[in-house]
C-alpha cells in the first residue's frame, strides 16, 4: 500500500509565487479569508443493458474555484482555464464583495501540508483497469441475475469511477492536497409475469478499486439482490395508509437520519435560524436510546475524506447523544460566524461550486435490543428493509423517505411484501418515538448521493434495526 500521492501545484500549471500573488490580490482590508481550490477529475463509466455492454464514456475536467469571505458575504468565481491571467481575473471577481480593494493584508507563505492519514490507500490508481475487464464483470452480472429467475427479462448494470485530485491554498497559509478515488457498481433488474412488470435495484461502492467488486463475489451478490427484489415485488400487495409502528432494518434505511436530523443540523441553516433545529442545542430531540454521529474518518467509505474541500481534516462529530442535541456540522464560514468548532464538513461538488456544510457518513450507534425481539414487539405495522430517496423541508422539519422493499408485520411476524410507500414525519419529533434500537449496526453498501443547493456529493448512512412507535405510512389501503 502506497502513501498518499502528493498533489503538486505544478500539475495545475502554477507555482507557489503564482498563488501567493492571487491570494494577495484578494486579501484586502474587508476580506476575512480567501481560498483557491484546484481540481482535476477523470470520470469513466461503462454500462450494459439487454445483455450487451453498449456504452462507454469518459470525461475529463479541471479548473480552479476562487473564494473570498467578508463577514457573511461570499465572493466566488471559477475558471476552467488554468492560466495566471484567468486566476488573476477570478481573484478580482471574488474580491468584489469587499467594499473597496484597499488595505492589502499580509498573506503568509504557503505551508505545504499533507493529510495526516490515508483513508483510501491503493496500490494502483483506480483508473488503472482495462475496459475489457469492466465489460467482462458486467457480463457476469447479467448472467447471474438471469440465472436467479427466468422471470428476469432485462438487466441493466453500470460501473462508474471517478479519480479526483484536489489542492486547497488558503490565506491562512495552508497548502494541502488529496487524491480521492470513488467507484460504484449498480444493478437494476426488470421482472415480468403475466403482464405484471416490477423493478429491483441494488449496488454498492466506496473509495475502493475495481478488485473490491470481485472480492467475496460482491458483484454476484448485487446481481442476485436486484433480481430478488424485482421478483419479490411481483407478489407485493397494496401498502397500508395511516399512522402505525414501523421497524427499519439496518444499513441503508439510515437515510431516515440523513433526512430527519442530518440536514437540519447543518450549520448554515442554524446560523440563519431557518432550521427546525435552530435553538435546540442541549435539548432533547430523540429518545435516550439514540446516539447519532457524523463520521468522515471510516476507511474506504463513500462518504469519507482525508480532508474536506477546505483542507480541514474530517472528524467524528456527535450530533445527538442519548437523545440530547450536541452539535452541528460546520464549514469554515459558518464555524467562524457562529463561534463553534470546525468539524471538517465543508464540502463542494466541484471547483464550480462553493463549499457548504455537508454530511459525510451519518449513522446511529448500536443499541442493546435483539432485532427479532424488536419485530416480535409489533402487533400490526410495517417492516421496511430498503429505500429509494428521501427529502426534507428544513424549515418546518417535515421529511419523507420512500420504501422500495417492505413487509407487513402481523402479530410479531413478518408476513406479506407490500408495494413501495412513502413515510412522512417531523424531524425534531420522530426520534423521540424510537423505542428500541438493535445491537446490529450496519453501514450502507455505498450508493448514497446527497443534493443541496444544486450540489451533489457522495455520502454514507447507517442504522441498527430500530422500532419507531408511530409514523405516517403513505400507502393506498386506508
Amino acid at each position: 500500500m502506497s502513501q498518499i500521492q502528493d498533489v503538486e501545484l505544478a500539475q495545475f500549471g502554477f507555482s507557489e509565487p503564482d498563488i501567493h500573488r492571487a491570494l494577495g490580490t484578494i486579501k484586502v482590508r474587508d476580506v476575512d479569508y480567501a481560498d483557491l481550490y484546484f481540481e482535476s477529475r477523470v470520470s469513466e463509466s461503462v454500462s450494459m443493458e439487454e445483455g450487451i455492454v453498449k456504452r462507454a464514456a469518459k470525461s475529463v475536467s479541471q479548473g480552479v474555484g476562487v473564494r473570498a469571505t467578508a463577514g457573511e458575504k461570499t465572493g466566488f468565481a471559477y475558471s476552467d482555464e488554468l492560466s495566471t491571467k484567468d486566476l488573476a481575473l477570478a481573484a478580482e471577481t471574488a474580491r468584489y464583495i469587499a467594499n473597496s480593494p484597499q488595505g492589502a493584508q499580509l498573506v503568509p507563505a504557503a505551508n505545504r501540508a499533507r493529510p495526516a492519514r490515508d483513508l483510501y490507500p491503493a496500490d494502483r490508481p483506480v483508473t488503472d483497469i482495462a475496459t475489457a475487464e469492466r465489460v467482462h464483470l458486467l457480463n457476469l452480472i447479467d448472467a447471474e441475475a438471469r440465472r436467479y429467475d427466468p422471470r428476469i427479462v432485462n438487466v441493466m448494470a453500470s460501473f462508474n469511477l471517478e479519480y479526483k485530485r484536489v489542492l486547497v491554498a488558503t490565506t491562512d497559509g495552508l497548502l494541502i492536497g488529496d487524491v480521492q478515488p470513488l467507484t460504484r457498481l449498480q444493478v437494476t433488474c426488470i421482472a415480468e409475469e403475466k403482464g405484471n412488470r416490477q423493478i429491483g435495484s441494488f449496488g454498492g461502492g466506496g473509495r475502493v478499486g475495481f478488485a473490491y467488486y470481485q472480492e467475496q463475489d460482491r458483484y454476484a451478490h448485487y446481481a442476485r439482490e436486484a433480481a430478488r427484489q424485482a421478483i419479490l415485488n411481483l407478489s407485493a400487495v397494496e401498502a397500508p395508509a395511516g399512522v402505525m409502528p414501523v421497524v427499519l432494518a439496518g444499513g441503508w434505511p439510515g437515510i431516515l437520519l440523513h433526512e430527519a436530523i442530518g440536514h437540519g443540523l447543518e450549520a448554515d441553516f442554524n446560523r440563519r435560524k431557518t432550521s427546525a433545529f435552530s435553538n435546540l442545542l442541549g435539548k432533547r430531540v430523540a429518545s435516550d436510546v439514540c446516539t447519532i454521529v457524523d463520521d468522515g474518518t471510516i476507511p474506504f467509505r463513500r462518504g469519507s475524506l482525508n480532508m474536506d474541500d477546505e483542507g480541514t481534516p474530517t472528524s467524528k462529530t456527535v450530533l445527538i447523544e442519548k437523545g440530547i442535541l450536541r452539535g452541528y456540522i460546520t464549514d469554515r464560514l459558518n464555524a467562524r460566524l457562529m463561534g463553534i468548532p470546525l468539524t471538517g464538513n465543508g464540502r463542494r461538488e466541484s471547483f464550480q461550486s462553493v463549499p457548504l456544510p455537508r454530511m459525510t457518513n451519518t449513522f446511529m450507534l448500536a443499541g442493546e435490543s435483539d432485532p427479532q425481539d424488536i419485530l416480535r414487539s409489533v402487533k400490526r405495522g410495517l417492516y421496511a428493509v430498503s429505500f429509494g430517496g428521501g427529502q426534507v423541508d428544513i424549515t418546518n422539519g417535515k421529511f419523507v423517505f420512500s420504501a422500495s422493499e417492505a413487509y407487513l408485520i402481523e402479530d410479531g411476524q413478518v408476513t406479506r411484501p407490500v408495494k413501495g410507500a412513502t413515510l412522512i414525519g417531523s424531524g425534531p419529533d420522530i426520534l423521540t418515538k424510537v423505542s428500541m434500537v438493535g445491537h446490529d449496526l450496519k453501514l450502507d453498501e455505498g450508493i448514497g448521493t446527497c443534493g443541496k443547493d444544486g450540489q451533489s456529493v457522495p455520502v454514507g448512512v447507517g442504522l441498527p434495526t430500530i422500532k419507531i412507535d408511530e409514523i405516517t405510512v403513505g400507502g393506498t389501503q386506508g
Binding site: D80, R197, K273, F401, A421, G474
Partner: protein
C-alpha cells in the same frame, strides 16, 4: 471570464476539426457537441449581499462509431494535445464495447435543414450592482408584506447565456445561442402562537430580461405562499378528490413525460409500455411537446442529434398518440425519431421534453376548488415515491383542506398515494391557467380520488 473569448465560427471550426481527426483515427461516423457560456448569480439575504458567483465555462464532447460500436468522451481542455488524447481515448473505448445492431447517427436525409431563429437569446447585460438591486427589491417586497415574515433564506438573481454547436460526419453543422434570466425569493414566516416556522418560495424565469415579472410581484407572491402555510396540521387518513396547483400538476406531467421516453419504453421500465393508441385519460387531456415555441424555455431549432425539432401530439383527447423518441430508441421500437434527443455534452443522446404541456381547459382554478365538497388542494410535493415501471405513486404533500368549495385550512405531514395510470384516467377537470415557467407546464387539474394518509 477568460479574455480569450472564442467566436461561434471558432467553435464550429473546432467541431469540424475534431470530426476530421476522429475519421483519421478510424471512426466510421462521429458527432461533436461544443458548448460554452457565462453565468452570473447574486444571492442576497436580509438585504445584504450573501454570495456573488461569476463564471465562464466551456466543454466539448465527442461520440464516435467504429462500425456498430460506439463511445463518448468529453473535456474542458481545448488544447491540441488534449483533443488528440480525447479522440484516441474515445476510439479506444469504442473498440472495447460490444456491437450494437441499431446504433448509429440518424439518416443523413433527416438532418435539420432550416434552423429558424426561435428568439432564445437576449444580449441584455446587467451590471453586478443592478443584479444585486433586483434581488434586494424582490426580497424587501417579501419582508415588507407581513409582520409574520420574520426571516429569509434569501433572494437570487441569475443570468446566463451560452452557445451550442453540434456537428456530425453527415456534414451537419448547426449552432444556436440562448439566454435565461431568473429571480427567486424564499421567505420564512413564524407562527407567533406556536413558534413554528414555514418557508416557501416563488420565482420567475424568462429567456428575455424584459419579460421577467417585476421583483416586487415575485417577492409578494413568495410571501403570500409562505404566510398561508402557517398553522398547518395533519388530516385523518381518507380517500378524497385532489386538486393539483399549476406547479404540482406540472410534476405529474413530468412523470408522464419520463414514462413516454423511448429509452424507458424499450427497456420495459415504463408504465406506458404497449399503450400507444390506447385511451388513457378523458377527452379534456391533450398534451403537446413543442420544440419551436418562440422564446420557449425548452425551444431549440434542432435536437441533440441535429434533427429538426417539431410539435408532437403526445396525448390527443386522452389517447396516447406518440412516444418521445430519438433515433436510437425509435429504431429499438420500430418507430421514427420525434426530434426529442436531449444531449449532455459528452453523453450519448437520451430523450427529453422541449416545451411539454397540457392544453388548458375552460374552468378557472377557483371554480375547480369550488367543485370540491371535501378534498385536498396540493401546493407542495416532496420525495421520490414514484415507480415508473408500475406507475405506483406515493409522495409527501402539503397544501390546503377544501371544505364546501373553499380553502379551509393549511395541511402538512400527509402523503397522497395512487397509481399514475389511474390518476390520469381519473382527471375530472383541467384548468384555464396554463403558464410556462419551465420546460414542462400544466394548468391546475382535479383528480377524482386518491388515498390521503395522515393521522
Amino acid at each position: 471570464m477568460s479574455g480569450t473569448l472564442q467566436t461561434t465560427q471558432d467553435l464550429t471550426q473546432l467541431a469540424a476539426d475534431l470530426l476530421a481527426r476522429a475519421k483519421k483515427q478510424g471512426a466510421t461516423a462521429a458527432d461533436v457537441v461544443v458548448a460554452d457560456g457565462e453565468t452570473f448569480s447574486v444571492q442576497v439575504r436580509l438585504s445584504a449581499v450573501d454570495r456573488l458567483t461569476k463564471a465562464r465555462e466551456k466543454r466539448l464532447g465527442l461520440r464516435v462509431f467504429i462500425g456498430k460500436r460506439s463511445a463518448t468522451a468529453s473535456t474542458s481542455d481545448f488544447s491540441g494535445e488534449s483533443l488528440d488524447r480525447l479522440v484516441s481515448d474515445t476510439c479506444a473505448l469504442a473498440s472495447a464495447v460490444v456491437e450494437d445492431r441499431v446504433s448509429g447517427l440518424p439518416d443523413a436525409s433527416a438532418m435539420a435543414k432550416d434552423l429558424p431563429d426561435l428568439d432564445l437569446y437576449d444580449p441584455t447585460s446587467l451590471s453586478t450592482d443592478q443584479q444585486i438591486e433586483l434581488a434586494k427589491r424582490a426580497e424587501s417586497s417579501a419582508l415588507a408584506m407581513d409582520p409574520r415574515i420574520t426571516n429569509s433564506e434569501g433572494a437570487d438573481f441569475n443570468s446566463a447565456s451560452g452557445r451550442v454547436v453540434l456537428g456530425n460526419s453527415h456534414g451537419f453543422l448547426g449552432d444556436y445561442r440562448s439566454s435565461t434570466f431568473s429571480l427567486s425569493v424564499s421567505p420564512v414566516a413564524t407562527d407567533a402562537s406556536s413558534g413554528g416556522m414555514q418557508r416557501d418560495s416563488w420565482y420567475a424565469v424568462q429567456r428575455k430580461y424584459g419579460k421577467l415579472d417585476s421583483p416586487e410581484s415575485v417577492g409578494q407572491e413568495a410571501a403570500r405562499r409562505t404566510i398561508r402555510r402557517l398553522g398547518a396540521r395533519k388530516v385523518p387518513t381518507t380517500k378524497a378528490p385532489v386538486v393539483f396547483d399549476q406547479e404540482m400538476a406540472g410534476s405529474l406531467l413530468g412523470h408522464l413525460c419520463s414514462a413516454a421516453s423511448g429509452y424507458a419504453l424499450y427497456k420495459g421500465a415504463s408504465f406506458l409500455v404497449g399503450q400507444l393508441g390506447q385511451k388513457l385519460a378523458p377527452d379534456c387531456v391533450t398534451i403537446y411537446d413543442d420544440g419551436r415555441i418562440p422564446g420557449g424555455l425548452g425551444s431549440r431549432p434542432f435536437d441533440g442529434e441535429g434533427l429538426p425539432t417539431r410539435k408532437t401530439t403526445v396525448m390527443d383527447r386522452g389517447v396516447l398518440a406518440s412516444y418521445l423518441l430519438d433515433s436510437y430508441s425509435g429504431r429499438k421500437l420500430g418507430l421514427s425519431s420525434t426530434g426529442s434527443a436531449s444531449r449532455g455534452v459528452g453523453e450519448s443522446p437520451s430523450v427529453g421534453p422541449t416545451n411539454f404541456y397540457l392544453v388548458p381547459g375552460s374552468t378557472s382554478p377557483s371554480d375547480i376548488i369550488r367543485s370540491v365538497k371535501s378534498g385536498l388542494y396540493i401546493t407542495e410535493l416532496i420525495g421520490f415515491g414514484v415507480n415508473m415501471v408500475t406507475g405506483d405513486y406515493s409522495r409527501g404533500a402539503a397544501g390546503f383542506w377544501i371544505e364546501n368549495g373553499e380553502l379551509a385550512y393549511p395541511v402538512e405531514e400527509i402523503t397522497i398515494a395512487g397509481n399514475l395510470k389511474r390518476m390520469f384516467a381519473d382527471i375530472e377537470l383541467v384548468g384555464s391557467d396554463l403558464e410556462f415557467r419551465g420546460r414542462i407546464a400544466s394548468p391546475t387539474i382535479k383528480i377524482g380520488e386518491m388515498t390521503i394518509a395522515g393521522n
